[in-house]
């Protein structure tokens, strides 16, 4: 079988289908610290930067979102979760901060990621997507 004529560098971005754009922007920017990168209201696309990646928010009732069919059901999903790498991981501080922001924190643990095994915890965004926040590997 022929080899792929390209090399994958990594994940460039992920596009989330959202119901409430403003609420999601507040979560990803104000709470998680993403930066607003680009807004294209006419097609219904908000892009926020998470380090070297982007997270795109596409309201399901916008031009792009409507092309994707019906809104995700409350329990329907094709993504279990996604994980963002953090530079700096002080679990106590992160917990205190997220709690003050009213973010529900799920299980913390030591988990395997692209850079190896390291500390992480799960949070839910306002629309129920699970976001894993992961620190550097134990043996960096």
């Amino acid at each position: 079988m022929s080899k792929a004529p390209f090399e994958i560098k990594g994940l460039d971005h992920i596009v989330l289908r959202v119901r409430d754009r403003d609420r999601m922007v507040r979560f990803y920017c104000d709470i998680l610290g993403c930066r607003m990168e680009r807004e294209q209201a006419e097609i219904g696309l908000t892009q926020v930067r998470a380090g070297h990646s982007l997270i795109d928010l596409v309201p399901v009732d916008g031009k792009l979102g409507r092309m994707g069919g019906a809104a995700p059901g409350k329990e329907g999903r094709n993504l279990d979760h996604f994980c963002i790498t953090l530079d700096g991981y002080d679990e106590a501080k992160i917990r205190a901060y997220l709690t003050a922001q009213g973010v529900e924190i799920g299980e913390a643990g030591s988990r395997y990621g692209a850079e190896g095994e390291g500390p992480s915890l799960y949070v839910s965004d306002p629309e129920g997507n699970v976001v894993e926040l992961k620190g550097p590997p134990w043996h960096a």
């Binding site: 994958i8 971005h13 329990e75 700096g88 003050a100 926040l133």
Partner: protein, 153 residues
């Protein structure tokens, strides 16, 4: 005695997160049927198998600096991930950052694997504007294949 009245806690909008985001580390994509999914992600996209976790119905694939974890919701071991409602899509697509490549060779490669390009165009990504080709994995998840911006752009 003066009573200290506490203001109701308001969202600490001004406080800054005690961390800096570096980027997307990995993503767990739900698939239905591991065999066709693995074929697609390894043979077509060139991911390599990093670890198998059959007890969770999971396979971890290396995609450059990131991981793509496939979770086969068709097997009982992945019942932990199986959504109660089928067919829902909380992510529209994910985009893979490709290194410099020959666009013609990429198109021929996809055609040889009978992978249809469902959409294409010059779109913005985390590295800037460049050509994107959109394809579907065997479970219908949309994958955007995106090279670096052209030199001098």
């Amino acid at each position: 005695m003066a009573r200290v009245t506490r203001k109701p806690a308001k969202p600490a909008r001004a406080s800054k997160p005690p961390f800096v985001l570096e980027g997307i580390d990995h993503i767990l994509v739900l698939v239905s049927g591991m065999k066709p999914a693995v074929r697609f992600y390894t043979e077509v996209l060139g991911c390599t198998v990093e670890d198998a976790l059959p007890q969770y119905g999971m396979l971890q694939l290396r995609a450059g600096a990131a991981l793509i974890d496939l979770v086969d919701i068709a097997v009982p071991e992945a019942r932990w991930a199986k959504p109660p409602v089928a067919g829902g899509r909380n992510f529209d697509h994910l985009c893979l950052a490709l290194g410099v490549h020959d666009e013609g060779a990429l198109r021929r490669h996809l055609a040889r694997h009978q992978v249809e390009i469902i959409e294409e165009g010059v779109h913005g990504g985390s590295r800037g504007e460049s050509l994107s080709l959109y394809v579907r994995d065997p479970s219908g998840n949309v994958i955007e294949l995106k090279g670096p911006p052209p030199l001098g752009a």
